[in-house]
């Protein structure tokens, strides 16, 4: 483990292995929702969970194996014993609820800080939608229904959204993220931000987001769960480069 200056990660007692062993995660590489769950499992010191990497491209998210856990045929598909939680933010909240006192606290108690964590966490889902509307435009919209004007509008909406987040991160520094110390807000939003840069977002035009991205890249839970194919190729896509 790198020396991260994060006392929670390093000084918390070891977790009984059986807890994580009763957990399983079906996931797809590079999917921000899957990544959120993996970061949470790391933060709560629940490493050792069973996991299986599936391929969206091969349609494995619609396989029987997934459908048995998640009838919607979507990833992540997460089980803890008999409890099934397939919505990523739900799984993160569940894990923090059940394992509050182990690993790192992801939701503070004090009112102002807690409110900000919840607020940014939920705004993170708006960011997700707006990113997806641009990045997956061709996947979401059949060819005969596509319009340059529609994509342009989605890009403008996304640009405005990203500027909002740039504003939220005005004072970003080590230990000072979306809602102060690393929290569930960052668990939900960081994968989106990493995703955006992967797809060509300009660090020059979004310097605070870029700083947030590079500061947290080194966090053990994020490093441990970094999407594998992103490590093997440095170049991503550039659909967001003009934002």
């Amino acid at each position: 483990m790198t020396s991260s200056g994060f006392p929670g990660c390093q000084s918390a007692p070891a977790v009984p292995a059986h807890m994580a062993k009763s957990m399983s995660l079906l996931w797809g590489a590079g999917s921000p929702p899957c990544w959120r769950v993996m970061i949470t499992l790391e933060e709560k010191r629940l490493q050792g969970y069973k996991r299986k990497l599936l391929s969206f491209q091969k349609g494995e998210h619609k396989s029987q194996e997934v459908l048995e856990v998640n009838p919607r045929g979507q990833l992540p598909a997460f089980r803890h014993g008999d409890v099934v939680v397939n919505e990523s933010t739900a799984a993160c909240l569940y894990l923090e609820n059940r394992f509050q006192s182990q690993g790192n606290r992801l939701i503070p108690d004090s009112p102002a800080e807690q409110a900000l964590v919840f607020q940014r966490m939920m705004e993170g889902l708006t960011l997700t939608d707006r990113l997806n509307s641009v990045i997956y435009y061709d996947l979401l919209v059949p060819e005969e229904e596509r319009h340059d004007s529609a994509l342009k509008r989605s890009k403008e909406t996304l640009s405005t959204e990203l500027q909002l987040w740039e504003g939220y991160l005005q004072n970003v520094a080590a230990g000072s993220y979306l809602a102060g110390p690393f929290s569930l807000a960052d668990v939900v939003v960081y994968p989106n931000v990493a995703f955006a840069f992967r797809f060509g977002l300009s660090a020059g035009r979004f310097p605070k987001l870029a700083k947030y991205y590079s500061l947290l890249k080194e966090r053990p839970s994020i490093k441990a769960s970094w999407p594998p194919q992103w490590m093997s190729s440095r170049q991503g896509y550039d659909v967001l480069k003009d934002l």
């Binding site: 609820n97 059940r98 229904e145």
Partner: protein, 262 residues
Amino acid sequence: MWWVGAGYKTRNVDPSALTPPSFLLLNSRPQLLLVISVTMAKDMTLLWASGSPPCWGVQIALEEKNLQGYNQKLLSVAKGEQKSKEVLEINPRGQLPAFKHGKIILNESYAACLYLENQFKSQGTQLIPEGAAEVGLMYQLIFEAQPLAQKIGEVLYYNWKVPEGERHDSAVQRNKEALKEEMKIWEGHLQGCGDFLVGKSFSLADVIIFPVFAYFIRNGGSEERYPNVAAYYKKLRDRPSIKKTWPPTWIDGPGMGTLKDI
């Protein structure tokens, strides 16, 4: 704020029946908590629109947590009041609900509901269950409700969201099919359910999702095609917190029938 004895409930005392300052001398716990909750509620403000499921959810949560007495203002989305200066000062996104507790701002309805339950855990109804299975199911359902609400919006507001030159019958059809499939999933979720979405008690799942089902039915959603949804709706609509916060603009007869084909 950790109170001894989880699940402790306050009595339902009408705040207007209290006579200050003598009640401050009471050493009875229920009345002390009531004092605190009335005070707390006076520091809260909600800007809302009638019939909006996210706004309604926050109102239900406030009632359930015995936080009546909050400041509130009904705004009109038809008149664009969600973009007024008053809203933008609290919510730069110009959306409702816009909620404040002192200096704390929560404009995402789920965030407000989670905050209220966490900060006022020991008063009013316990909205997050104790057991792992129930907690997991509750969180799962409230986040599954997001695609449900979205799909309703894609059908109801297609013409408002999509400029004329970009509209396609195929898209309208696809959105309708998607909503139909989504409603079937929820019909399944409610199969064999008791009175509530999760286990035997009212929870955040009901706070957040009841308004969405009510919205569906209000806008013409078929009770015959979705009998489980209709039964759930009928069972809960008389719950005090829900009855009290029933959208005022819904009292004057049925709404648009646009979802009748779903």
